[in-house]
Amino acid sequence: MRLNIAHLALPAILMVGAVTDAQVVEVGDVPTYNFEQAYNTMGSSKASDFLGKPILVDFWGTR
């Protein structure tokens, strides 16, 4: 059994490839996505990692 010792520089921040952010989704679509930078992923950063539970993606602003 090998340990996956990845992402050691910033442990809670996962770095993976990203898809385009311009994809407009409609009800009924099954979007594919992943994050280059995300906080508190605990190893889950792409659409397939979240299968099995409802996902609420909330777009917000700091200003």
Partner: protein
Amino acid sequence: MPAAVKLQQEFGERIQVILVESQGTGYEKSVGFALKAGWLGNGAIWTSQRPFSTGSGGLPSFALLDASGKVILKGSSNSMHGQIVDEIERMVGKPDYGDMPKSVQKVYKELNKGKIASAYAMAEKVIAKPGSKDASIVLAAAEASLVAVWSRFDSQVSSINWLAGNGYPIRALETAKDLAKNVSKRADMKMSADTLIEMLEGDEFKEQMKWDKSLTKLEMAMYENKEGDPRSIKKIEELKDEATGSPVGARAEGLAYIAKFAKK
């Protein structure tokens, strides 16, 4: 606090909330902003990368996806909050299996309880005896459920490895022990889970377990106190130096890095 964060707190691990800062503030500053406001530490994921667009011009806006990853609702987070809550309650209360054969629904119900070995045995049973009515449909659904069972197992093993390799050995060990219980009736799966337990209980992780315990307390203190709690941050920086070169040390470094942006 954003309503979405409250939903993560309320529903816990039954849902996943992903907050996407969408005004160009940037990753570090937006996470620092959330830390300063006391919004972290509840399971929500924070990013500044838009995974997709809802097509909505205003903020806050949202997309709600079901357990299969399908968008079931989207729009304004404020005006549609009641609908979001209703849909989440419906989904976590009673999953919609559509026209899936009842014998296969039972496999998924067992799997959703975390009982992997039991779900595996049920799927095998349906495959061996799919029944005379719509046998080919039942068989195909049962075979797909078996793939889902293996996928859930693989996902749990990956998650344990990620936790162990990224500075969370205590949580990794707890998850591995749960997994071992849930696969105890399947020798091959049990062996994998036991190997993970043995690794995490080994000498290599002894010191990391101690650091993880301290760091988790400091991390929660940092989240619970607005402004990031300077005293906890100082101790996190000290722990980073003590645990340097280890996954827990790297985790502490990541926390200390984000904390800097809560001060600005």
